[in-house]
């Protein structure tokens, strides 16, 4: 799945969902099938026949303008909103809205809200992280072990007993993430996790996410930051006005700027730089996804160029 370049437009997603229903080999952890949702007291529906799927094991970035339906999609994924038409499938099965099944769903699918205040409940990071675990009926030894792991992983050990209201925004965001991570969900959804964070806090948060992903969790991040999506994600989904406009690997999505331009989204800086180079230079190379890769590629290209010049000079002599 991850190696599949190009853009799967809406039609192909529908086909893939159909294939999945027919038992064919498409491993999606979460899928939306023609989902419509209209908030009360609003003119336009938030989701208008959304069909999209999130591949298992991928780091997926959900892109789109404000009001494109990203947060609404997340609220549907954890059963906080129920589609007015269509259905949501988790691990291939339609989401059930019975109380018991919803509780089980929320243990499998974790959601980290954009505003951490929305989900921090108890007084200190240590207590708050244990909230969901205790609610799930775990014994205290298991709770302590899981808390210790996520506190360490997200660099929160030093502040585990500090009152929540004294934490910085970055620390609150990491605490909210830790509370969800401790539940060890198979799918982790993050709504604008890096908004308002300074570069250091953002780096710490992304390190934590990479650690979670390495352990086998599928991570989905809604973001406006195209540069971040480009360098971080394995799979991109673009939402616009409540429908999925495109989905695919970043190389494919960002290869042609027309779609993004049409949707009013900016091309990531690295992709723009790469595609502005002459095709004779980029031919045979894959587009770099981060500054390090870009630097290495430039060095190698420059090296090749210098070598060529040296060979030409040698022949002339």
């Amino acid at each position: 799945m991850m190696g599949m370049p190009g853009i799967n437009v809406l039609k192909s997603l529908e086909t893939e969902l159909l294939e999945k229903e027919n038992g064919m080999d498409m491993d999606y952890i979460l899928a939306f099938e023609d989902v419509v949702f209209h908030y009360p007291d609003t003119v336009e529906p938030a989701l208008r026949g959304l069909t999209a799927a999130i591949p298992r094991g991928c780091k997926t970035a959900l892109l789109g303008h404000n009001g494109s339906g990203k947060s609404t999609l997340f609220l549907h994924a954890v059963g906080l909103l129920r589609p007015q038409r269509g259905r949501v499938l988790q691990a291939g099965l339609p989401v059930s809205y019975a109380k018991k099944e919803l509780a089980a769903l929320r243990r499998r699918v974790g959601l980290v809200f954009q505003d951490p205040e929305q989900q921090l409940i108890l007084g200190t990071p240590q207590d708050d992280i244990s909230f969901g675990l205790r609610g799930a009926g775990m014994d205290e030894a298991e709770i302590a072990a899981r808390c210790a792991v996520v506190l360490e992983l997200l660099n929160l050990s030093a502040i585990q007993d500090k009152p929540i209201h004294q934490l910085s925004l970055g620390q609150k965001k990491r605490t909210a993430l830790a509370g969800v991570m401790a539940m060890e969900p198979e799918l982790l959804l993050l709504d604008e996790p890096t908004s308002y964070l300074d570069p250091l806090s953002e780096a710490q948060l992304l390190d934590g996410l990479d650690s979670i992903h390495r352990k086998g969790t599928t991570v989905v991040m809604a973001t406006h930051d195209m540069n971040l999506a480009y360098r971080w994600a394995d799979w991109i989904i673009i939402l616009d006005q409540g429908v999925c406009r495109a989905a695919g690997a970043p190389e494919g999505i960002f290869a042609g700027g027309e779609l993004l331009q049409r949707l009013g989204l900016a091309l990531p800086l690295l992709a723009e730089l790469w595609h502005s180079l002459p095709p004779s230079v980029t031919a045979g190379h894959t587009a770099p996804r981060n500054a390090g890769e870009f630097k290495a590629l430039l060095n190698s290209l420059l090296g090749e160029g210098m070598g060529e010049r040296a060979r030409v000079a040698g022949r002339q002599q």
Binding site: L80, R106, R107, E117, L122, D127, G135, H165
Partner: protein, 243 residues
């Protein structure tokens, strides 16, 4: 638990002991907060002063009397023009206010001691051990969270209004305060909705389960000082009663 018990005993003593000992309790509890717990004096003073404002508001009722004082009874008086009535203050009224101040200060110092030196989570654990109903604990917990959310929202709104220039004049300020209260209400309701969504997303099943009570070792030096202090206060009260 130890600290709560200590505060409870001190609170009880603050009610029953001689006013001079109540003053001592106030000073001793301040020592625990400011010296041992390193609470910033400014913050402590603000909290203490704010709470004492309520006492201040009741002062006129304690000190000032209306009527015709007996000869030599009033130390200060003011005749109400056109009547034979006086507003006056007596030494007894002053004494009543002073006694109340001693008791209020001592009780307040005990409350601040437990509030400022005990993490809220531990306080809830103690209350749970004292068999406080779960619903009360949950309400306390949610209210505690909302105190900070409310403070945060109010601070943000106030700052934004100040930066935008605000209004001048008393009437404009009143209008501004009213509109701020409305914004604050809307903001807080929005946050409340968000928090309820957050609770549901984290698997809230109708009961917030609190962490279990963890017994902590009390430093011997503090335990000794507390026991010694209680004994000395009780002994001083007995001595005052017998002499």
């Amino acid at each position: 638990m130890w600290k709560s018990l200590f505060a409870a005993i001190m609170f009880a003593l603050a009610y029953v002991l001689h006013p001079a000992l109540q003053v001592l309790i106030t000073l001793w509890m301040m020592l625990w907060c400011l010296q041992y717990a390193k609470i910033p004096p400014r913050a402590y003073g603000q909290l203490f002063g704010t709470a004492l404002l309520f006492y201040g508001l009741s002062l006129p009722a304690l000190l000032v009397e209306l009527g015709r004082p007996a000869a030599g009874e009033a130390v200060l008086y003011l005749r109400i023009p056109g009547t034979a009535q006086f507003l006056y203050m007596t030494p007894a009224g002053g004494m009543r206010a002073a006694l109340l101040l001693a008791r209020v200060s001592a009780c307040l110092a005990c409350c601040l001691f437990i509030m400022l030196t005990t993490p809220f989570g531990e306080l809830l654990q103690v209350l749970r051990r004292l068999r406080m109903p779960q619903i009360v604990l949950e309400l306390m917990l949610v209210m505690y969270r909302f105190l900070f959310l409310l403070d945060d929202a109010a601070h943000g709104l106030l700052l934004a209004r100040r930066l935008r220039g605000g209004h001048r004049g008393f009437r404009s300020r009143l209008r501004e305060a009213a509109s701020m209260a409305a914004s604050l209400f809307a903001n807080t309701m929005h946050r409340y909705y968000g928090l309820s969504q957050g609770l549901a997303a984290r698997g809230f099943t109708g009961e917030i389960l609190l962490p279990p009570y963890v017994k902590r070792e009390v430093p011997r030096r503090f335990a000794f000082e507390a026991y010694a202090g209680i004994v000395l206060l009780a002994a001083a009260q007995l001595w005052m009663l017998w002499t």
